[in-house]
């Protein structure tokens, strides 16, 4: 496999730059992965990619801040792939849905079915309107890990990773209505969902595209065959408080922790003098760490999204369940960059993708670019693309599929040698 990152100029995809990128391989890329600046520039950029490589598989999404090799950029990042074996061309699936119209169980099962013989799956989705956690829960139910210790009907669990994109902060109302009920949508749920639906002007999630088509609320799955896909979850947070129990929670909202309203619990930590510090901004360096009791949920992080003091509720970017054991963590630029540079050893990858949380970007501040630079350096300068996310998808320490906040999910690819 050969991979190359195209560093774009501001505002558009110059055809000459795109063509120049293919000079050395001498043929159009098999796969084009593009993370493009949001807004009106998306449609022309997608059209430019189609014009340059009409026969290539082209997928991607909008993102505010992208990675192109060692650089952090807002001009967009395009990663091109050439596979040595024509049989290793990936497959692509698109699943459209919203929190109000969650995907049907059959659709999720069909998607999981397409993972059957895959060596890895990359998921890119809108982080605001698309019900990503709902999809992940459904996929987890359909798949098992490689050990195959579930029943025969369960499918093999390939490595799955990716990121959720969003190009602006959502409103508080969007936060509260983000996660639907787990079961298939009923009339009541649809009715509730419609009541909660924000005004169209407020919906500005990240669009995904596949080929020439742009989807306002969807997830695109790139299913790799004949490619070794390794996923590393980069953390860099240390435990900072005792462990407490979540008493009441629903979706991504915690109402009570340790016998008191969630906001009061946060007040124990987030006051200066006798005043509450600005939230959620001040909480970025002190994320919520999940410590169990379910092994499946151990090691997950949750980033605060909304602090609703009158209601006593705190909303996060990921789901929290009653009975979860939680504590506050802490980290800073040093710990995040240092952890990013400490990649585990393994087979040399030929391409990399990095999906790092916007919460990390906030903590890193001026040093935001150091993380990707450290990782790119550790990887020996191979082609790398990615973006700052509003949620990461990656394996738990036990190998299952999880929805993360505040991590950097690093996807490493190498084509299998026959």
């Amino acid at each position: 496999m050969r991979s190359q990152t195209v560093h774009l100029a501001a505002g558009h995809c110059p055809p000459e730059d795109l063509r120049a990128a293919c000079a050395e391989p001498g043929r159009d890329p098999d796969l084009v992965l593009a993370f493009l600046p949001p807004g009106d520039e998306l449609a022309p950029a997608v059209a430019a990619l189609a014009a340059a490589w009409p026969d290539s598989l082209r997928v991607g999404c909008e993102a505010v801040t992208q990675f192109a090799d060692a650089e952090m950029t807002s001009r967009g990042s395009i990663q091109l792939f050439w596979f040595d074996d024509p049989d290793h061309l990936p497959a692509v699936e698109v699943i459209e849905a919203s929190h109000q119209e969650v995907p049907a169980a059959e659709r999720i099962a069909r998607l999981a079915g397409s993972f059957a013989d895959a060596d890895g799956v990359l998921l890119l989705s809108d982080g605001l309107r698309f019900p990503a956690e709902f999809l992940l829960d459904g996929l987890r139910d359909c798949l098992v890990d490689g050990s195959g210790d579930a029943g025969n009907s369960a499918r093999r669990f390939p490595p799955v990773a990716g990121g959720l994109a969003s190009h602006r902060e959502p409103t508080s109302k969007e936060c509260r209505d983000r996660r639907p009920a787990r079961s298939a949508a009923t009339g009541d749920q649809r009715s509730r969902g419609r009541q909660a639906e924000p005004r169209p002007a407020e919906l500005a999630g990240a669009r995904v595209f596949c080929g020439d088509e742009i989807f306002p609320s969807a997830c695109v799955a790139v299913v790799f065959h004949g490619v070794e896909m390794r996923v590393e979850v980069v953390r860099g947070w240390e435990p900072a408080s005792p462990i407490y129990r979540v008493d009441r929670a629903e979706g991504n909202v915690i109402f009570e922790i340790d016998g008191q309203p969630a906001t009061d619990w946060y007040r124990r930590f987030f006051i200066a003098g006798d005043q509450l510090v600005p939230l959620p901004e001040s909480s970025y360096r002190f994320p919520l760490l999940l410590e169990g009791p379910s092994p499946e949920r151990q090691g997950l992080y949750r980033s605060m999204r909304f602090f609703d003091e009158p209601a006593g509720a705190v909303t996060f970017w990921g789901g929290v369940q009653p009975g979860d054991l939680v504590r506050l963590g802490m980290g800073n630029g040093d710990s995040l960059v240092r952890t990013a540079a400490e990649l585990p050893r393994g087979a040399a990858p030929e391409a990399a993708m990095l999906y790092s949380c916007v919460g990390r970007e906030a903590v890193l501040g001026d040093r935001a670019g150091q993380e990707v630079a450290a990782i790119h350096g550790a990887l020996g300068g191979i082609s790398l693309s990615g973006f700052f996310t509003h949620g990461e998808i990656g394996p738990t320490p036990r190998g299952r599929l999880a929805f993360y906040n505040l991590t950097a999910v690093l996807v490493l690819l190498a084509e299998a040698r026959s």
């Binding site: 900072a240 408080s241 005792p242 124990r268 930590f269 987030f270 006051i271 200066a272 003098g273 005043q275 509450l276 510090v277 600005p278 001040s282 360096r285 002190f286 506050l328 802490m330």
Partner: protein, 606 residues
């Protein structure tokens, strides 16, 4: 610090948050420490409070902890023992025990095997020794690694002593501490075996105190008990340490003189008599000379069983009493005694055969009401007859001596009870309405039989006979001899509704006070006071006082052996409640009496 908000310095806010985190963490840490401390204190208090010794070692077998009991038993203070090898602190007596402990501890620490030590001797640092039992287990950390061992051990010295005491109780008489009958029989059997096998001669003496009953009756049971203890001391002082002395019954003692010729045994008994002559038993203001009758039997191969030996000794003792008491009689098997003993043995076989072949027959004698208080309805005493294979019928007096001597009375009593109840229950249902009382005789042997109560309760429950219709007759002597047991049996069965009669009342009488202790419904005045009641004013006075006594205590009276109308009139005038005797009604088969009652009831009903 500037106020939080847009203008706040993020670093300052972070510092404030970090301080809060530290405060909360410290608070939680302190709380956890307090909880851990409380847990540790509780554990220490528990360990200090439990009665077992607890000792722990590290993975190398070095002592880490001793609780107070372990400190006491090992003689080591916990601080001194710390870091010492287990074998130095937990010191077992005997090389093999020490080696075994080391091996087992190694297995415990290396392979995680539990260890158990039973009744080993632990020697403390101050050289005290304790019999202990111990169990040990490996101590594991959270990851399952063995980090040491814990030994829990207890001092079982008392338990051991108790076991010895129990063993002693099983073989010794509680009152005197002498061997009991069962244990004595064992020694006697071994002596007889030796005599039969090797021709060795031993001697058996059977002693019966002559004045015991007098002391008991005049001064009470406490005095009687004290007399037995003093007599025990006298016997032990007089006889050699190798001679065995046992208490065989109330005031009967057995002495086994091992490897002792007849002249030597005679000499020893004479010395015993001399000691007895000097002995005075003083109780409060009374002083008693105590005599004894002793039967002496040389144990030779001529005897086949210890039953023969005991029978011979008993007989010799009886002859000594007959000859005027306070003397010794050497057993000589003359023709008459041989015939009698042989006859008794013969009876034993015959009784057993009769029981096995169900050839006992039940008769009964009705008891007539005399007073207004007396209940109307059929009242009879069940009587036993033995029918031999050739049709000869024997009265109980023929067989009871042998049955009592050879332990068959319990079986006979049970047969009588079972069949009497069955005879009653075989009658039409209306019979029970006309039955006042069915009285069944009970031997002293059954009264002291631990299983008797259960037997009677089962019989009553199985048959469905109303317990109120049953009455057990026991002799006054049987009741007094074992008053505690009699009380237990009488109270328990009275609770069911069963009634009791004291038979032959007046003959063994020494005190009426015990009547308060047992629930009795009838006093059956002995026939010797009734036979001449018409002419003998003393007998009359006796009957009158017994009758008055009974009525004062709410007990009805029955005159036995009533032999004429004049006697009936006299008894009626004295207020005696019932009369019984052959003149009134001769014994008849129980089925016949019951059938007559049923027929009479039917006739009356018509």
């Amino acid at each position: 610090m500037s106020p939080p908000g847009a203008a706040a310095d993020p670093l300052e806010l972070d510092n404030a948050i970090l301080r809060n985190l530290l405060k909360q963490t410290t608070r939680a840490y302190e709380q956890q420490m307090a909880e851990l401390f409380a847990e540790k204190e509780l554990a220490q208090v528990t360990l200090a409070s439990i009665g077992d010794g607890v000792l722990t070692t590290d993975a190398q077998g070095k002592v880490e902890f001793l609780n107070p009991v372990a400190e006491k038993l090992t003689g080591w203070q916990a601080g001194q023992a710390l870091g010492q090898p287990l074998a130095a602190v937990f010191r077992l007596v005997g090389e093999s025990a020490g080696g075994e402990l080391a091996t087992r501890l190694r297995h415990c620490l290396e392979a995680g095997e539990s260890l158990r030590l039973v009744e080993v001797i632990l020697e403390s640092r101050d050289e005290r020794r304790y019999a202990i039992e111990s169990v040990g287990s490996p101590i594991r950390d959270h990851d399952g690694r063995i980090v040491g061992a814990v030994l829990v051990f207890q001092d079982v010295s008392d338990k051991r002593l108790m076991a010895l005491q129990l063993a002693h109780q099983a073989t010794h008489d509680e009152l005197t501490g002498l061997l009991n009958r069962q244990s004595f029989d064992g020694h006697l059997q071994r002596a007889l075996d030796e005599a039969r096998a090797a021709g060795t001669t031993h001697a058996l003496c059977y002693m019966d105190l002559d004045q015991f009953k007098l002391v008991n009756d005049t001064c009470g049971h406490l005095a009687g008990d004290e007399l037995l203890r003093r007599m025990t001391a006298l016997l032990q002082d007089t006889l050699a340490d190798t001679d065995l002395v046992a208490r065989l019954g109330g005031d009967e003692f057995g002495m086994l003189l091992p490897r002792c010729s007849l002249p030597t045994a005679e000499y020893k008994m004479k010395r015993l008599f001399r000691a007895l002559q000097r002995f005075r038993f003083n109780w409060q203001d009374k002083s008693f000379a105590v005599g004894a009758s002793i039967g002496l039997v040389p144990i030779t191969r001529d005897y086949r069983t210890i039953a023969h030996l005991m029978s011979a000794a008993d007989h010799a003792c009886y002859v000594a009493k007959e000859k005027g008491r306070n003397r010794m009689q050497i057993y000589q098997e003359d023709d008459a005694t041989f015939v009698r003993r042989h006859g008794e043995m013969n009876w034993v076989v015959r009784i057993q055969e009769t029981l096995e072949n169900d050839r006992f027959r039940l008769f009964c004698q009705t008891i007539q009401p005399l007073s207004e208080r007396a209940a109307r309805g059929l009242f009879f005493e069940v009587l036993l007859r033995m029918v031999e294979s050739d049709g000869r019928v024997h009265l109980p007096s023929d067989l009871i001596r042998a049955a009592e001597r050879y332990g068959l009375m319990r079986s006979v009593d049970r047969w009588v009870i079972h069949n009497s109840i069955r005879a009653v229950m075989d009658q039409p249902a209306s019979f029970l309405e006309h039955l006042a009382t069915c009285a069944i005789n009970l031997s002293a042997m059954s009264l002291s039989d631990e299983a008797f109560l259960g037997f009677v309760e089962e019989e009553i429950a199985a048959s469905g006979v109303p317990p109120q219709k049953l009455c057990f007759e026991i002799t006054e002597t049987a009741a007094i001899e074992n008053l505690a047991q009699a009380q237990r049996v009488l109270h328990r069965l009275s609770g069911l509704g069963v009634r009791f009669a004291l038979d032959d009342f007046g003959t063994g009488m020494s005190s009426f006070s015990y009547l308060r202790e047992i629930p009795v419904s009838f006093l059956k005045i002995d026939g010797k006071f009734i036979k001449d009641i018409v002419n003998d004013s003393l007998d009359r006075a006796m009957v009158e006082s017994i009758n008055q006594l009974g009525h004062v205590m709410g007990i009805q009276t029955v005159a036995e052996a009533v032999s004429g109308s004049a006697a009936v009139d006299r008894l009626r005038s004295l207020g005696v409640d019932y009369a019984q005797g052959n003149w009134l009604a001769a014994p008849r088969p129980i089925a016949e009496v019951c059938a007559a009652q049923v027929a009479a009831a039917r006739a009356g009903g018509r």
